[in-house]
Symmetry: C2
Subunit: 171 residues, 2 copies
């Protein structure tokens, strides 16, 4: 898979995540509870709640695109408190990812990526993508999905993958 395809897939998954939040909101309204309860729900007391899972998924995708294209990532302070604000954050980041073109990632596989948290270390772009950005991104989107499922939201694997019809896969 090309770097561009991998980044496009982040955008696709963020749009799925946005849909799950819409379904969760409708579920809460049907059951008569405040959808904002989801934002602080978590699977373990020392794991991030939904708010930070969504923020982290957005950041994994955004920084992946920025580092691998050699661009500066836009700043998104983690101020979201409501499901609506999380959905706006997701849509903003998906929109940012959608500005990239295949040519932006020329040479990305060999590019030295050195995010601040690596404290001076660097890693080749292809390894950064495969071994760090992709697992980290899916960690946070899947955990967000799991928090919603654990709290009774009716989601299934087709919602996760985002399958609406076979034409979604381009053939």
């Amino acid at each position: 898979m090309s770097t561009f395809e991998a980044i496009s897939q982040f955008s696709r998954m963020l749009k799925n995540l946005d849909q799950w939040l819409q379904i969760a909101t409708a579920h809460a309204q049907r059951k008569g509870f405040d959808p904002e309860v989801f934002t602080q729900s978590r699977l373990a007391p020392d794991q991030y709640p939904l708010v930070q899972q969504v923020q982290s998924a957005c950041d994994a995708a955004k920084y992946g695109a920025a580092y691998l294209s050699g661009k500066k990532a836009p700043s998104h302070p983690d101020t979201e408190k409501t499901v609506g604000e999380l959905r706006t954050r997701i849509q903003t980041v998906a929109g940012y990812l959608d500005t990239f073109q295949a040519s932006d990632f020329a040479g990305a596989e060999e590019r030295a990526v050195a995010p601040p948290w690596m404290e001076g270390n660097s890693v080749r772009g292809d390894r950064y993508l495969t071994r760090i950005a992709v697992p980290n991104f899916y960690f946070h989107v899947t955990t967000a999905y799991a928090i919603l499922r654990h709290n009774g939201v009716g989601l299934g694997k087709r919602d996760f993958i985002g399958v609406r019809s076979w034409t979604d896969f381009g053939e």
Copy 2:
């Protein structure tokens, strides 16, 4: 990322999953409960328990490698009932993945992939990998991780990613 790198990453993540199960077993023994309780634990009543999450992760990885290389996948009937048997299944599949070489995936990106569940439809290999195999694989390993975390096992993001030192990333 090359198809070969993506398949190698599945092997790396399966080895991480094997480690989480080892840590979970030690946790249960320390707390004085039967580690086999984990095997039937789940996050929602209509979601797979740990056993099937692990089997599904193994299958996503195995079929990804087989379909993209045009080989026939080995059969692994879903008979595991214990953590020990799950660990053997994981190690078997990681071992299978480790038999592949970069040359096995020549032309994989353009290869038409038509798994039985697609009911006669097919998808290009690169789209299959990026949009189906990778999300599906990470869905199951992350949910397995979440089941353990939800049940009190002391795991963190470094265990998930499998970071032991920066040299794990090859630089």
